[in-house]
Amino acid sequence: MKKIQIFLSLITVLTLLVDQSAQAQIGRRWSPQAKDATIGAGIGGAAGAIINKRNRVVGGVIGGVIGGATGYAIGKHTDNKRKEAARVAEANRVAAEREANRVAEANRVAAEREANRAAEQSAVARANAERAPAKATEGVNKAVRASGPVAVMATAPAATATAYTAPAGPAPTVLKSGYLPNDTYGDQTAPYGMSPYRRKSW
């Protein structure tokens, strides 16, 4: 009985020593295989020594080998599960990052398109503003021709007032893209009232 106690104490001490030295050598967390193999070897060794009453040493060795192998298998399984979880997490992270990049790119393109559209609208508005006074002046001239000198005095201030509303710089009659501006832009009843370009040709 005393021999058994000594033997078990020896195995425990050896297990602890192996454990500590291994940790010291690696300097980091144990792998699940190593940890479970060590635990299995310790338990198996102890159990083998207890079970084999005729030869404690042989029993301990056999138990240790079997326990170690079993522990390694369990540890490997744990390690595989952990690696799979890490792989899934990494894949999710990459997918989330890609989605975030895609959304950012889409937002950037939309903002750019909106800015271009606003610029085109501004150009169309200026072109229309330029045309409006010209048409008004034309109308005034027609009225002058029809009504004579009295109408000139009556309509001149109106024409002058209209002329002052024109923008200072030259209005673009052609959009940057090489298309003509739509003078019915914003008119819902016109065939292509929502297009900043002129579309109606026939």
């Binding site: 298309y179 003509l180 003078d183 016109a190 065939p191 009232g193 297009s195 002129r198 026939w202």
Partner: protein
């Protein structure tokens, strides 16, 4: 022998009757459209309007005009002055005794809308559908245009 003679006589009568009734001929849709396009190029509004059916439909972009007077006013009258050298390229065409159509692409020169604006060049897709009316004359029943943006003509 008597039966044989009567059968032959009956066959002859049927044959002559079928030869006399001519099958109704399909209209020459190319000629109809040439008249129509020619009227546009000659700026002949009366000729164009005469070719429109009373219940004509005209679709262009988000506009849908119904009836001869609305189409004549909002399409023909408002477009005729700014258009010249209208050409069509027919992609699909068919005709029978009651309906005929031509569809394809068109190109046209666009007069400047303002004095300081350059001339334009327009292209697009079209379909012109003709139907024979009760008075046996062919009229434009449906027209649909899809215009592309008007480019500056160099």
């Amino acid at each position: 022998m008597t039966i044989m003679k009567s059968v032959i006589s009956a066959l002859l009568v049927i044959g002559m009757a079928s030869a006399c009734s001519k099958p109704s001929e399909a209209v020459n849709v190319q000629e109809l459209n040439q008249q129509f396009i020619g009227a546009w190029n000659n700026k002949d509004a009366d000729k164009i309007n005469a070719l429109l059916a009373d219940d004509v439909h005209f679709l262009q972009g988000n506009a849908h005009y119904k009836g001869k007077s609305e189409v004549a006013d909002k399409w023909v009258k408002s477009t005729l002055s700014s258009l010249s050298d209208l050409k069509t390229n027919v992609v699909s065409s068919a005709a029978d005794s009651q309906t005929a159509y031509e569809a394809g692409t068109f190109s046209v020169d666009v007069a400047p809308a303002a004095a300081n604006e350059p001339r334009g060049f327009g292209e697009g897709n079209f379909i012109l559908l003709w139907k024979k009316g009760a008075d046996m004359t062919w009229k434009l029943s449906y027209a649909q245009l899809e215009d592309l943006p008007v480019q500056v003509k160099n």
